[in-house]
Symmetry: C2
Subunit: 355 residues, 2 copies
């Protein structure tokens, strides 16, 4: 910056003004400075700038490790993209799915003086205490684990209802649900229902509404994905074995994550059951669904909107100090592919669905 100032024959202050409030600089000097700027290709040191203005233009992101569930890669990219569009750089820290101590990451983010932290992770109240002490705003995405912060989540109801309706229209009545086990995810109850309760009750409501069999034995609960990464399809495989070994097995399934679907398809294929001819499958997250054979229908989220809302929360929280928590809830939607078909042997399934 000194070089630029010298080259243009002005003070560093004037260079800074040309950079950030050019209208306050006289025409002649402005042109000179601009020329020097172009000639040197000078770019301000954002670190020094951040030190001076106490705005780092960095935000922290604490999120589930994308190797465990590629959905979180999609989410993280969406957030990163929107953050960059708004001029922010993102510092990402990744963790297994639950109960890991994120204190180290939080400490690092504070040391880096990030302007805000986004959690897409099952955090605990004590995890964000240091952030609150340092007056750094927190936004929760995807999960709502503590109260008092901005929240951006997606309601599973629309997607689940459409999925069940779709299966019923194809003639299916015995529809299994593979969901999250509240006992595996000890979530504090922040607002009404936990994510696991919300999805299960959305499923039950859809079953009732669309006329599928209301048989709770078809609900199998566990983890959404492996937390170790070795044998990542295992959770779904184990649960699917159990389901197919039932006395009266279902003809279709709605799983709470695409990772579970990976295991489901492995079991079906190993038992010689074809998808969708012999069994219909719908996933959740719309992550690896298009990569499976056949490509799997899945319930997706509007991640672009989610990311936009999250960054908007971040910027709002940075700007106005007295800030009451915002809450955005986006709908999920069913994205159809090739993993569902009319119930084998069902005569005229569409009319049956109306019966």
């Amino acid at each position: 910056m000194g070089d630029v100032a010298k080259m243009a024959g002005v003070s560093p202050a004037t260079v800074a003004r040309v950079l950030y409030e050019p209208e306050k600089v006289g025409e002649a000097r402005r042109a000179k400075v601009q020329a020097a700027l172009d000639a040197t290709g000078y770019k301000p040191n954002v670190v020094a700038r951040g030190l001076r203005t106490s705005r780092s233009w960095k935000i922290g992101l604490i999120i589930v490790d994308g190797r465990l569930n590629p959905y979180f890669v999609n989410l993280s990219q969406a957030i990163r993209l929107e953050a960059m569009a708004q001029g922010y750089t993102v510092l990402t820290f990744q963790y297994g799915s639950v109960n890991e101590p994120v204190a180290d990451s939080v400490a690092q983010l504070i040391q880096h003086r990030v302007d805000a932290v986004i959690f897409a992770y099952a955090l605990r109240p004590e995890d964000i205490a240091p952030l609150q002490a340092a007056n750094i705003p927190v936004v929760q995405v995807e999960q709502e684990a503590v109260g008092g912060t901005d929240v951006v989540i997606c309601g599973p109801q629309a997607g689940i209802s459409d999925a069940v309706a779709h299966l019923v229209a194809l003639g299916h009545r015995r529809i299994a649900f593979m969901g999250g086990d509240p006992a595996a995810y000890l979530r504090p109850r922040v607002s009404g229902q936990t994510m696991e309760e919300e999805r299960l009750s959305a499923f039950r409501a859809a079953v009732a509404q669309h006329g599928a069999d209301a048989d709770h034995s078809l609900e199998v609960l566990g983890r959404y994905f492996s937390t170790t990464g070795e044998d990542p399809a295992k959770e779904g495989r184990v649960m699917m074995q159990k389901i197919l070994d039932m006395p009266a097995p279902p003809t279709a399934i709605l799983a709470s994550s695409d990772m579970l679907v990976a295991g489901i398809l492995q079991v079906l294929s190993a038992r010689g059951l074809r998808v969708p001819q012999d069994f219909s499958v719908i996933g959740f997250d719309d992550s690896i669904a298009p990569l499976l054979a056949p490509a799997v229908s899945s319930i997706g989220r509007p991640l672009g909107d989610v990311a936009k809302a999250a960054i908007a929360c971040v910027m709002g929280a940075i700007d106005d100090s007295p800030h009451r928590p915002l809450r955005h809830v986006f709908p999920t939607e069913l994205r159809l592919r090739d993993s569902t078909a009319p119930l084998a042997g069902a005569a005229r399934p569409l009319s049956a669905a109306k019966a």
Copy 2:
């Protein structure tokens, strides 16, 4: 820091010394300062520290978007983990697979005064010119697109040879190869062969060595994965259609990425061919292989070693200014799962393999 100094009744300089060279501080004061440190929970502002020492402890990573190919998530995580273990924070920028202008990212990394930049991306010489001008070391991982920088790559030979040997031992003779098309990846020739040439010639050498059919019509070349993200299994599907429509189709295939395998399995399943009974498949990257049905054998890389080497290069380049380019080449390895089986109809395949 001022607070801590005041609380301990010393100068800020002494606090800094307790933090970074405690042996130079007298016992009594050191204890006092330590007490104040603990009491306040003070953490130094790494931004200010970086400004003063001109060491940001940040490194940039420019890598292929993990949504396009989850392999790059694995690679990026491995690098991030090792970087963090060495005290570095990672700034990641992600791109489609080729020919995108990374200049923006490079400019941002320079503005953030990163200590080094790792490329896992097909960069072009002009992309790193600004970095070299700013005296920021560059390390290339996975790809070697320009000369003169440290390089950490994996040789495909071991994995490919083992894969072909494995298939031949199962009785397969007509083994297809789905590889990268040199025309799709216009790589400058930096050292000997491009990645595409290297893999293809490794395949041919293995075919010759282990006694499979040397039929070049079984080699189909294209892209490793979709660069748009929509219909991510399409590349493999299209190529696999072509392969199965050959007059004398193969009985097994080695694909150059797991993403291609996703499409391969979709085609096989759509045509009613079972894996591995009717067709054997081996992938490359060991990324989504364990998620497919059946779990697919794949050629993997020692990503932990790769990451360690990359960060070692980074640290070496930061420390000694006169630095001659290092070059690390790690071997690939075949990781067996459930996607290969003896050739159907082949009597005693193992002895046949020896014939």
